[in-house]
């Protein structure tokens, strides 16, 4: 590799091991385990380069294309799946010198930033101007905006503010075939490839800058803990809170083991540091006991999991709201009705979580130092599948490791589960644990990753999840990166051959094929007239949450990103048929980071057969002429709105009350796919 051509244009490049070695791995625990146990790191790349502006990125990719050099884009290396791990002969492109905020637009509520900006620095600078993206992953200090795009990140306040997909409005990238403008920046004549760029893990090009939604800093924050007798009752409350349209920013439910270990449901436990405080206190008096306290679950995960399974007792749900004070007051009033049967533990559990919300990352090192490994797995499913997903994945992980879980990133349609597990053993145990867990997640109908991305770890599982839709990825990849120099094999294995899903067939008995009343989703005929759909749904007590002004099959493919708000998700699972008769189904369930969102490009390349869309109960809307004189629509989030006023669901009556306009008889209008909402 002759990098002098790059040096000659003023680029800073390093080829020595001191600077290359840190680029040989990210935070994938498998590589950490190998490094710590054996002192071995993955292969070193051949060089690393630090571009300072988009023109540099263009020059680098042009040079790499000519030289046939593999490029690995690099943010801050906080990935946990090996997405940027080193490979011999590659050129790492570290983007952290492209770390500027380019423009803040308070009127449109957007910020334009470069892709090498650390998340914490973005929030710090926005805070000084009264704004935030509210994207707050636990890695916020050690991850970049470009990384959030690459791996489809989610933050701790995603229930209200959305995952990064929802926050991202546009992005510019450089590909081997030139500049690519996506999202709101897509040229009129082009296909919008933002959904494919987001989650592409460097496989298409290098993101240089992006446009993000911002929100005003909250004037009020409300956090409280609630104890439930069991998981099922807590899941029901979470679902009802999310389906009520009151948008909590935080919903975190700890499973019985996590609740007990954290000691979160009794006041005395909280003060003494946890439900197993007596054990911790005893251990603190003896280094021997301390060592073996950690060793016990590691040595006997099966036994520990059996004991854990027998743990009965309350589980803790943390509920949080933030935003303008009148909205927080109205939302909490509504929430407390839903939470009336839970035991109110006051603000301390929530505030404790908030104060320590980034501390989890400090807890991994002691496990590795003790000779074991620790890792996390985040899966997601719609509410109806969530209990099965929890049981199945927990059982799979529990065959090899000690495991606990919490449920966060809740949506109206479903929720993610975040498993933490630790085990003793070598790579063989680690690999077996993951294989079983990924298989379990797939068979239980969940996505294999909610927000950690794919990397090496989940590339095959993600490809299986994409199924025949991987054709869409292959086509776009070939068109933008014909020589395959961009982070090859990420996020999907090269030349992956999907097996045809024979269980898929042409739908019958429409126009509403399936009604998922738990998750408030309807699978409908995309060719059907919306009025027909509404009539059919009304007969069952429901209505479309976002009614289109034409059949979904025509509406969705031309839907502008501006036509829906951050909190509005127009479509979930889709089924389509390629011209050769092969069918595929993409199930985001309810959010996924298993590679890019291929649904939008699939719609342009295959015939839509079913679409799963959000619905809500017909309960008598409360329509207010004039909205609110001071509060912004984007903060209030009514069920629907027009230029004349806002409409609220019955479950949003407390929000409707703070709006002082006059009630009206207007009904929810249909939505034009190109008009801003």
């Amino acid at each position: 590799m002759n990098v002098e051509a790059l040096r000659s244009i003023g680029l800073s490049i390093a080829t020595d091991a001191l600077h290359l070695r840190p680029y040989s791995r990210d935070l994938w625990p498998r590589d950490t385990l190998k490094m710590y146990k054996e002192g071995v790191l993955p292969e070193l790349p051949q060089a690393v380069v630090w571009p300072e502006r988009p023109e540099h990125v263009e020059a680098i990719i042009e040079w790499a294309t000519q030289e046939g050099v593999t490029i690995v884009p690099f943010g801050a290396g906080s990935g946990v799946c090996g997405g940027v791990r080193g490979r011999a002969g590659s050129l790492v492109v570290d983007l952290k010198r492209m770390n500027r905020i380019l423009a803040i637009n308070p009127h449109n509520r957007t910020v334009q930033v470069q892709s090498g900006l650390l998340g914490q620095h973005l929030e710090d600078q926005l805070e000084q101007t009264g704004w935030m993206t509210a994207h707050s992953p636990s890695s916020i200090a050690c991850s970049t905006t470009g990384g959030y795009v690459a791996a489809r990140s989610a933050g701790q306040f995603s229930s209200r503010y959305g995952v990064f997909d929802d926050i991202l409005l546009a992005a510019s990238a450089v590909t081997p075939k030139g500049k690519l403008q996506t999202g709101l920046w897509t040229p009129k004549e082009n296909e919008d490839l933002l959904p494919v760029l987001c989650g592409s893990e460097g496989g298409l090009g290098i993101v240089t800058d992006m446009l993000l939604r911002i929100s005003p800093l909250p004037s009020d924050r409300w956090l409280r803990g609630y104890a439930f007798p069991d998981l099922q009752s807590a899941w029901t409350a979470m679902r009802e809170l999310m389906q009520a349209g009151i948008w909590p920013s935080v919903l975190r439910l700890y499973d019985p083991v996590d609740t007990k270990i954290g000691g979160k449901t009794s006041a005395s436990d909280a003060k003494s540091g946890g439900g197993f405080a007596w054990m911790k206190n005893l251990a603190s008096k003896s280094p021997f006991l301390q060592r073996h306290l950690l060793n016990l679950p590691l040595a006997l995960p099966g036994l520990i999991n059996k004991i854990s399974a027998g743990i009965s007792g309350e589980v803790l749900l943390i509920v949080g709201f933030d935003g303008p004070t009148p909205i927080v007051e109205a939302s909490t009033k509504a929430a407390q009705k839903i939470l009336a049967n839970a035991r109110d533990m006051g603000p301390e559990p929530g505030e404790h979580w908030f104060r320590h919300r980034h501390d989890v990352s400090y807890k991994l090192a002691p496990v590795f130092i003790a000779g074991a490994f620790a890792d996390t797995m985040e899966v997601a499913a719609t509410w109806d599948k969530l209990p099965t997903l929890y049981q199945e994945v927990r059982a799979a992980l529990g065959r090899h490791t000690a495991v606990m879980a919490h449920f966060s990133h809740a949506y109206a349609e479903g929720c993610s589960i975040y498993f933490s597990f630790m085990g003793r053993g070598q790579l063989k145990t680690y690999d077996a644990t993951w294989k079983d867990a990924l298989d379990a997640a797939r068979s239980a109908g969940g996505t294999v990753t909610h927000h950690h991305g794919v990397g090496v770890l989940k590339s095959e599982a993600a490809a299986k999840e994409a199924g025949a839709a991987i054709r869409v990825w292959n086509e776009i990849k070939t068109s933008l990166d014909p020589d395959g120099i961009m982070n090859p094999g990420r996020p999907f294995p090269i030349d992956f051959e999907p097996t045809t899903d024979d269980t898929l067939s042409a739908p019958t008995d429409g126009p509403v094929f399936e009604l998922n009343e738990t998750s408030l989703l309807a699978t409908v005929d995309p060719q059907s007239n919306p009025d027909t759909l509404q009539t059919e749904l009304a007969s069952k007590g429901y209505t479309l949450r976002i009614p289109p002004d034409r059949p979904f099959g025509e509406w969705l493919p031309i839907l502008s990103r501006e036509a829906t708000q951050a909190w509005e998700t127009p479509v979930f699972t889709i089924q389509a048929r390629f011209d050769d008769g092969v069918r595929t189904r993409i199930q985001p369930a309810p959010r996924s980071a298993a590679g890019p969102d291929l649904r939008w490009s699939l719609m342009r390349r295959a015939t839509l057969e079913t679409v799963q869309v959000p619905i809500r109960a017909l309960s008598g809307d409360i329509n207010i002429v004039g909205g609110h004189p001071h509060l912004d629509l984007r903060d209030v989030r009514p069920a629907w709105h027009t230029a004349n006023g806002w409409g609220f669901e019955k479950s949003q009556s407390d929000l409707a009350e703070i709006c002082h306009g006059e009630p009206s008889s207007q009904t929810q209008p249909t939505r034009n796919p190109k008009e801003s909402s």
Partner: protein, 279 residues
């Protein structure tokens, strides 16, 4: 040491957003986690010792990693220990001579002898000491030579007060019991420019590299000059043409060389002539 080293090496670089060298250069190798990893790997594989020896000098000892760390890991002290193991001991330190008998000693670490201007400002005699090795900082930053070096310094400054405009010299003196004054603090406050300073105290959790000392104007300029320059250029870029005052002379000179408009305390003192001129 091993357990502490592992704790840092296995951390997901949670302090990286506070490390001014890492933020300014963008280089992964400069994060405290990467430096600790280099040291840890060298312990497992002696062939990697030369790289680790280079890596420890990527740290400017600004200490912001420790203040950001949820576990308060003593990164600077850990690297002093690593330096002792990985780098050969420096030649024995020969203390410089203090010229003059005054109680206060101006430590001149740059080209400009500012003691006459200080004498005028204070209206009293000031002794001088010229140093070109940061008062033997290399001896203070190792565990095997620190004690002897501290004794030498204490003997050198016996019953005197050190006055410095250089943060590295200040760090070295601060680690002894020698009384110290920073030149900046002796300048009449009302006469100082009301510009932003790189060395103003700021307790913010995540401050930009401008408001905390990055340390890049110290020995990093000798061991890794390219990186020192990158950090300076990053700060200059953030200043965006704004003229600022830095309370540290070495910092001011460094940033000037990176294209920033910065005035330091020595330059300010010398330009004032009559300290009453600004009243």
């Amino acid at each position: 040491m091993n357990s502490e080293l592992s704790t840092c090496a296995l951390c997901p670089r949670l302090c990286r957003d506070r490390c001014p060298v890492s933020v300014g250069s963008g280089r992964e190798a400069t994060t405290p986690t990467s430096i600790m990893t280099a040291v840890l790997l060298a312990k497992k594989n002696p062939e990697l010792e030369p790289q680790a020896a280079q890596a420890v000098d990527l740290c400017t000892r600004c200490g912001q990693c420790t203040s950001a760390c949820g576990l308060d890991m003593p990164v600077v002290e850990m690297l002093d220990q690593a330096r002792t193991i990985l780098q050969p001991a420096p030649k024995a330190w020969v203390p410089p001579t203090i010229r003059g008998n005054a109680r206060q000693v101006a430590i001149i670490s740059g080209d400009t002898d500012w003691s006459p201007a200080l004498e005028k400002l204070l209206n009293e005699d000031v002794a001088t000491l010229h140093t070109n090795d940061f008062l033997g900082a290399a001896h203070q930053w190792r565990t095997d030579t620190r004690e002897a070096h501290t004794a030498q310094l204490t003997e050198l400054f016996k019953h005197r007060t050190a006055i410095t405009a250089d943060h590295i010299c200040a760090q070295v003196i601060d680690s002894t019991s020698i009384p110290i004054e920073h030149l900046h603090s002796l300048l009449p406050e009302h006469s100082l420019p009301r510009w932003r300073s790189c060395h103003e105290p700021n307790e913010g959790r995540h401050v930009s590299t401008m408001t905390k000392c990055c340390g890049a104007s110290g020995p990093l300029q000798n061991t890794h000059p390219d990186i020192a320059k990158e950090v300076g250029r990053d700060i200059a870029r953030r200043l965006d043409g704004q003229h600022v005052y830095s309370a540290d002379e070495r910092c001011a000179r460094h940033l000037q060389s990176c294209g920033a408009a910065v005035t330091g305390p020595v330059e300010w003192l010398m330009s004032q002539g009559d300290p009453d001129a600004n009243r």
